[in-house]
C-alpha cells in the first residue's frame, strides 16, 4: 500500500468519525402530544422566556456556540476548582451547592459540586472516592479461586456479571473449557441478574422523580428473582457462585418450576409499571428530552450499555463479542433514538423482555452434563471421592488453601453488564495469586459523563439524569 492511499484512508476515516449523526431534537417527536400535556399541566406556570431558552432543550445544547474554554470545562478536560464570578453575571445569581455525599438520590456516596445560575445548572464536578476500599489491592492478596468473592462486591447490583467477567478472564489464561451445562447456567444467572438490576433501576428512577409507588412495585418483582438466587447460591447478593472452572453448584431440584413462575410473574409486573409510567404526564414531562447524551459523547466518554443504546448506538457485547455461548440464543438489541431519560427507560424495559426471552429458551433447551470443568488442576475432586480417598481430601484442601497456579500473561475480558461494558484486566506472574486485577466498571465512566448530561439543564432534572445512568458507587470507587 502506498503512502498516498494510507493518507486518503485516514482522511476518509476522519470524516466518518466526524459525521456521526446528531441526536434528533426531542421536541420533534409527538409535538401534538407534548402540546396537550403542556396545556394540561404547565400552561399558566411558565418560567421567564429567557430561562426557557436555555433549559427546555436539555443538555443537547452543550456543544453549541460556547467558546472553546467553556467547552473544555463542560467536557471536563479543564476543571476549575476555585470559582471566580463572571463579570457579566451578578454575584447573587451564581452559587455552588454540594449534592451529597449523603444525599438519598445519589445512589451511594457520590458528591456533586453543582454551580447554579438561578435554577440552571452551569457546571458540575463529580467527586468520588468515599467508598474506596482498595479492592484491587485486596485482589492481589487473594488466590484466583477467592477472586470472585472480592469482585462480586464491587457492582453489588449485578454480582453475577462481575464474577463471570473475572472467571472468563482467568479461564482465558488457564485455557480450560467449561462444559456446556456450566456455560448455560452462567447465562441463565446473568440474564436473570440483568432483569433484577433493571427492575431495581425502574424502582429507584421512579422514586427519584416522584413516583414513590414505583419504588415498592419494583422491589416486589426483584425480590422474586432474588429468592431464586438465594435458592441456587445460598445468598441474595454477593454470591461467589460463578468461579474459575465453572459454577459452584448445580441448579437445585425443581428449578424449572421457579423459572416458570418468574416468567409468569415478572412480565405481569412489568406490564403494571408500563401502565403506571408510559402515559403518565408527570413522568413524561420529567424524562422527555432530559439529560441528553449524543452518540459522539458516548464514544468519547466511554458511556456504554443501555445508556449508549438509548442514544442510538447499535452495539451490544453479547452480539459483538459473544461469551459463554450466548450467541446460541435469539434476542434483539433494543435501541433508542434521542438519548434522553425516557429512551433509557424504554430501552431497559425492552431489555427485560429480551432477557426473559433468553431465560425461556434456556428453560426449553437446558443441556445435561457437568456444571464445572473436569480439569483437576482447577476443580476439586467430587464429594464422594473425598470420603474414600485421603489423596482426594488433600487435593481438595490444597486447591482451597494454596490455590492453583495460572500461567503468566495478561488477559482482558468484558461482559455486557446491566449498566454497560464491565471489563476485567488480569495480569498473572505465574503464581497462585493475581499480579494485578483491574476492573473497568461502567459506572465509573458514567459518573465521569455526568457533567455532559447535566450542564445547562434545570437543577430539578439533575436527579433524573443521575438516576437514569444508574451508577453503582461500589463499582465506581472499588
Amino acid at each position: 500500500m502506498s503512502d498516498k492511499d494510507t493518507t486518503e484512508e485516514q482522511q476518509d476515516a476522519a470524516v466518518a468519525v466526524e459525521e456521526t449523526p446528531a441526536v434528533d431534537a426531542p421536541m420533534e417527536r409527538g409535538e401534538a402530544g407534548r402540546r396537550r400535556l403542556h396545556e394540561m399541566w404547565v400552561a399558566g406556570t411558565e418560567e421567564r422566556a429567557d430561562v426557557r431558552h436555555f433549559t427546555d432543550e436539555g443538555a443537547q445544547e452543550l456543544l453549541g456556540d460556547e467558546g472553546p474554554d467553556v467547552l473544555a470545562i463542560q467536557r471536563g478536560t479543564v476543571v476549575e476548582d476555585d470559582y471566580e464570578f463572571d463579570d457579566s453575571v451578578d454575584a447573587e445569581e451564581r452559587q455552588i451547592i454540594n449534592m451529597g455525599p449523603q444525599h438519598p438520590s445519589t445512589h451511594g456516596v457520590l458528591r456533586l459540586q453543582i454551580e447554579l445560575e438561578g435554577e440552571t445548572v452551569r457546571r458540575v464536578k463529580p467527586i468520588i472516592g468515599y467508598l474506596h476500599t482498595g479492592m484491587e489491592k485486596t485482589g492481589e492478596t487473594l488466590t484466583w479461586l477467592q477472586g470472585p468473592t472480592n469482585v462480586t462486591r464491587m457492582d453489588y447490583l449485578s454480582p453475577f456479571h462481575n464474577e463471570l467477567a473475572f472467571s472468563l478472564a482467568v479461564e482465558k489464561l488457564l485455557g480450560v473449557d467449561i462444559p456446556e451445562r456450566g456455560q448455560v447456567i452462567r447465562i441463565l444467572m446473568t440474564e436473570l441478574n440483568r432483569v433484577s438490576s433493571h427492575l431495581l433501576w425502574i424502582a429507584t428512577q421512579g422514586m427519584d422523580i416522584g413516583a414513590i409507588s414505583m419504588m415498592i412495585y419494583g422491589w416486589r418483582e426483584r425480590e422474586l428473582v432474588l429468592d431464586f438466587f438465594e435458592k441456587v447460591t445460598g445468598l441474595r447478593m454477593n454470591h461467589n457462585y460463578i468461579r474459575p472452572g465453572g459454577v459452584a453448584a448445580d441448579l437445585p431440584d425443581g428449578w424449572e418450576d421457579d423459572i416458570e413462575m418468574l416468567l409468569r410473574k415478572v412480565p405481569e409486573g412489568v406490564a403494571e409499571y408500563r401502565e403506571i409510567l408510559d402515559e403518565n404526564p408527570i413522568f413524561l414531562d420529567r424524562t422527555y428530552g432530559v439529560g441528553v447524551i449524543t452518540p459522539a459523547e458516548c464514544r468519547a466518554y466511554g458511556v456504554t450499555g443501555p445508556a449508549a443504546r438509548a442514544s442510538g448506538i447499535d452495539f451490544d457485547l453479547r452480539k459483538a463479542f459473544p461469551y459463554s455461548g450466548i450467541d446460541k440464543y435469539e434476542f434483539e438489541v433494543p435501541l433508542g433514538k434521542h438519548g434522553d431519560v425516557l429512551d433509557r427507560y424504554h430501552v431497559r424495559i425492552a431489555e427485560i423482555d429480551q432477557s426473559l426471552g433468553i431465560v425461556r429458551q434456556i428453560l426449553e433447551t437446558m443441556p445435561a452434563g457437568d456444571y464445572r470443568t473436569a480439569d483437576r488442576k482447577v476443580t476439586p475432586p467430587p464429594r464422594k471421592r473425598i470420603d474414600e480417598s485421603m489423596e482426594a481430601l488433600i487435593h481438595h484442601f490444597k486447591i482451597f488453601t494454596s490455590g492453583f497456579q495460572v500461567p503468566a500473561g495478561e488477559a482482558w475480558q468484558s461482559v455486557e453488564s446491566p449498566r454497560g461494558e464491565l471489563g476485567v484486566y488480569v495480569v498473572s506472574a505465574g503464581g497462585a495469586r493475581p499480579w494485578r486485577v483491574h476492573v473497568r466498571g461502567p459506572s465509573f465512566a458514567h459518573v465521569q459523563a455526568l457533567p455532559v448530561a447535566m450542564t445547562d439543564s434545570l437543577i430539578a432534572d439533575a436527579v433524573a439524569t443521575l438516576a437514569s445512568l444508574d451508577p453503582v458507587l461500589g463499582d465506581v470507587d472499588r
Binding site: 485516514q10 476515516a13 484491587e136
Partner: protein
C-alpha cells in the same frame, strides 16, 4: 582503476541494500492495524481473535492514540496501570479502545520506568481518559503530562504514597476489642 570501480560499485550496492533493508519492517496484514502501527517505529503488536495488542514507547504513545482514533477506534473504554516491580520498564500504562462499527478491541501497552514515571496524557484525544488517568496517578504515581487536573481521585487529597505499587504494603490497623483480656 578497475579495482577502484569495483570497490565503488560494492559500496554503492551496500548502501542500496541498507536503504532497502531499513523500510522493510514487517507490518501486520490488517490494513487498519498497519495504518496505526506504521508511522511509529517503536510499535510492536500481537493479534488475538477479537483484540489487537500494541506495545509502544512513551514518546510515541500520544500520536499512536491519535492514529487509533482516526482509524475507527473512537470509543474510549479503559486506562489502567500495572506495576511489574523488578522488571524493566517497571510500570506499564494500558489503554483499551473499542471500534463499534467493525467490532474490534485495541489494547495499547506503554512501558515506562523510574520512580516518578511520566507518560503523555491522552485527554485531548479521548476526553474520557480524564478520570482514568487521575485514578492511575492516584494509585501508581504515574504522572500524565498535559493532563488538565491531575489530582487524587479515590484516595484522600493528603494521602502519602501510591497504594497499588508493589512496594506499598497492605498494612493493618490495630483494633482494641472491648474486654479482650477476659477471654482466655
Amino acid at each position: 582503476m578497475a579495482d577502484e570501480e569495483l570497490t565503488e560499485q560494492t559500496a554503492e550496492e551496500a548502501v542500496a541494500e541498507e536503504a532497502s533493508a531499513a523500510p522493510e519492517r514487517e507490518l501486520p496484514e490488517q490494513a487498519v492495524l498497519a495504518a496505526i502501527v506504521e508511522p511509529h517505529e517503536s510499535a510492536t503488536w500481537q493479534i488475538a481473535d477479537d483484540e489487537w495488542v500494541v506495545m509502544v514507547s512513551a514518546g510515541e504513545y500520544h500520536s499512536l492514540a491519535a492514529a487509533a482514533l482516526v482509524n475507527g477506534f473512537a470509543t474510549f473504554i479503559d486506562l489502567c496501570g500495572v506495576d511489574y516491580f523488578r522488571a524493566r520498564p517497571r510500570f506499564e500504562v494500558v489503554l483499551t479502545l473499542l471500534n463499534y462499527d467493525d467490532p474490534m478491541r485495541l489494547r495499547v501497552r506503554v512501558g515506562v520506568d523510574g520512580d516518578e514515571p511520566v507518560v503523555p496524557s491522552v485527554t485531548d484525544v479521548y476526553p474520557g481518559a480524564n478520570f482514568y488517568e487521575r485514578e492511575t496517578y492516584d494509585l501508581f504515581g504515574i504522572d500524565f503530562s498535559g493532563h488538565p487536573d491531575l489530582t487524587r481521585i479515590l484516595m484522600p487529597d493528603d494521602w502519602e504514597g501510591y497504594p497499588l505499587r508493589k512496594d506499598y504494603a497492605v498494612g493493618s490497623v490495630p483494633i482494641q476489642f472491648k474486654d479482650a483480656h477476659k477471654v482466655q
